[in-house]
Structure formats: C-alpha cells, structure tokens
Symmetry: C2
Subunit: 179 residues, 2 copies
C-alpha cells in the first residue's frame, strides 16, 4: 500500500467518521496499525500530513489552471479553476472540516497563501469590469468557494454529474438564480 493510497483512504475514513480510531484507518488502508504508526508517529502527525497533502493538491490545481491571465479571460480561468478543484473535493472538504490544527504554524501559513491566486484573479476580474466591484473581493471568493462546495456535495451524493459541475457553478455564480 503506497503512501498516497494511505492518505487517500485515511481522508475518506476520517471524513466519514472524524472519531475513527487509528485502527479503523489502518484496517481500511489494508495496513497494520504498527506500520501506520511507523509512518505517522501520532494521530496528530497523520492529520497534519493529510492537511499538507490537501494543500499540495489545491496548489497544484491552481497552478495547472493558469490563473495569471489578463482580465478579459477571467471567466475562462475561473471555470478552469473550478474544474480542477472538483476531483479533489474530498481533500478540500477535509481541510474545511478539520478543526483544531490551528497550532501548526505551517498549516496556518499555507491556508493564507493557498487562497491567494484565486483572490488575485477575482481582483483582476473586478478591475476588468467582469466581476462586480460593489462587493468586497473576499466575499466574491467566499461565494465561489461555497458554490464549488455545494457542487462537490451534490456530486458526492450522486445528484450531479461531475462533468456538468463547472458550467453549473459558473452560471450560478456569475449570473445568479434570478431571471
């Protein structure tokens, strides 16, 4: 069982049941508890590793989405970002729900810097007149996050097709639900 697979399974198990024991995680990962302890000495270490892995993936998705574009292409870049985030929905959900890791300076720092690219993109969109300027930039980002999260949730319960998600999120967020 590769390290990556263990992180995958651990994310899944701990999302479904945050109080799951390390024994549960090990069993689900097809690994002995001893081995798990060898890789991650304590439960805390495992949680930190999972968080770092989640940040790694979000950062990679943001880089791949090439968000540093001129204002006129903001909308396309946004859709690329959303499309890139969809497959790593569980990781993001994990980051989001994980509480009590505020005492790890590395993670706090990454939290702030991981959101930067999207924030910059939104600002560029506002300057280019594509995104409303009568709302704060952080609120726009927050709205994007929330809509993406809704989409991920709908996907995870089987109500929304993954391939439909980016366009739906874009339409909803950009034009709203009103007629």
């Amino acid at each position: 069982m590769s390290v990556q697979s263990i992180l995958d399974v651990a994310t899944e198990v701990l999302l479904a049941k945050p109080s799951a024991s390390l024994g549960d995680v090990a069993k689900a990962a097809g690994v002995s508890r001893t081995t798990l302890h060898k890789r991650y000495a304590t439960r805390h270490d495992l949680l930190v590793a999972l968080s770092h892995d989640a940040y790694d993936r979000v950062e990679k998705a943001m880089t791949d989405a090439q968000l540093d574009v001129p204002g006129s292409e903001v909308e396309a870049a946004l859709e690329r970002a959303i499309a890139g985030l969809i497959p790593i929905g569980p990781r993001i959900e994990f980051m989001y729900r994980q509480i009590g890791l505020d005492d790890v300076p590395d993670l706090v720092a990454r939290y702030e810097q991981t959101g930067e690219p999207l924030l910059r993109l939104v600002r560029r969109g506002q300057e280019a007149g594509i995104i409303r300027s009568d709302m704060p930039d952080w609120w726009i980002v927050s709205t994007l996050d929330a809509s993406f999260y809704s989409a991920w949730e709908a996907i995870s319960v089987g109500r929304l097709a993954p391939l439909d998600a980016p366009a739906l999120v874009m339409k909803t967020v950009m034009r709203g639900i009103g007629t």
Copy 2:
C-alpha cells in the same frame, strides 16, 4: 443555568472543538458534570438534544418568515428567511457538521421536512418566473444554503455586519457576481 443556556454553550463548545469532553462542556456551562449527566444521560443523548434544538429553531425561523406567499412576493420572503436564519447561525453550523447521528430516525425525518418550506418557496418562485427554471430546484436551495452559510461565517469572524448580511446574500444569489 437554564436548559436553554446549557444548549447554547454546548453548541458553542462542541463547534469549536468537536472532541471536547463532557467535563469541558459542563465547565463552560457553569454546571457540574453530574448535573449535565442527569439531564442528558449520555454524550449521544446530548448531541441528539442539540440537534433537535437546532431543528426547532430553524423550523421556527421558517414559520416566522411566512414563506407561504404568492409567487410575486417570493423575493421578499426569501430575504425574510435569510434574515431569520442569521441569528441561529451556530445552530445550523452544528447541524451541518454533525456527523454520525444518522442512526436516529427522528433526526433523519426532521432533516427532510425542515428543508421543505424553502424548497416549496423556490418552486413557487420558479413557477412565477422570478427564479430560473433551467436549474433543478434542489440546486437553487443548495445555493441559497451555501450563500447563507458563507455570510454566517463572515459574520462570525467579524468581517460582515449582521444587518448587512440578508441584503448581500440576496443580491449575490439572485443577480450573481458578474456585471
């Protein structure tokens, strides 16, 4: 310390730290652990009581918001609903994050019926042509929930004024972030 206050404090403590012990909860509520155990025999009982309390409040907010209006007034009703939900943000966050209570039939039933009024309102809005019909009703509701939740989060960290929230959510949701 009244029962209601205990539920308030318990919600707060368990939101900040889901793994908090009953001792922590009791201390925060200014009550002895013995007394807490007398009211709620087990931790599970306490969590169920907290959930029921949260549902009670959401249902009351929905009733107070008078959502059963003709289609032409859907928008105003929506804003009333959002305004009513803001003050009980912590309860809703608790319901949302609480996992592992799926084995309580009462709660599952309430979950489904608590969302009904808003879903009906959205459908009425769609029929009246005020809300887009090219998106599923459940997605509209999901979007509303997500935006409300974003607002609550912003309020809880002090970035958004509670009184500004309903209008901001309405504008964002109905008209989108695009120009």
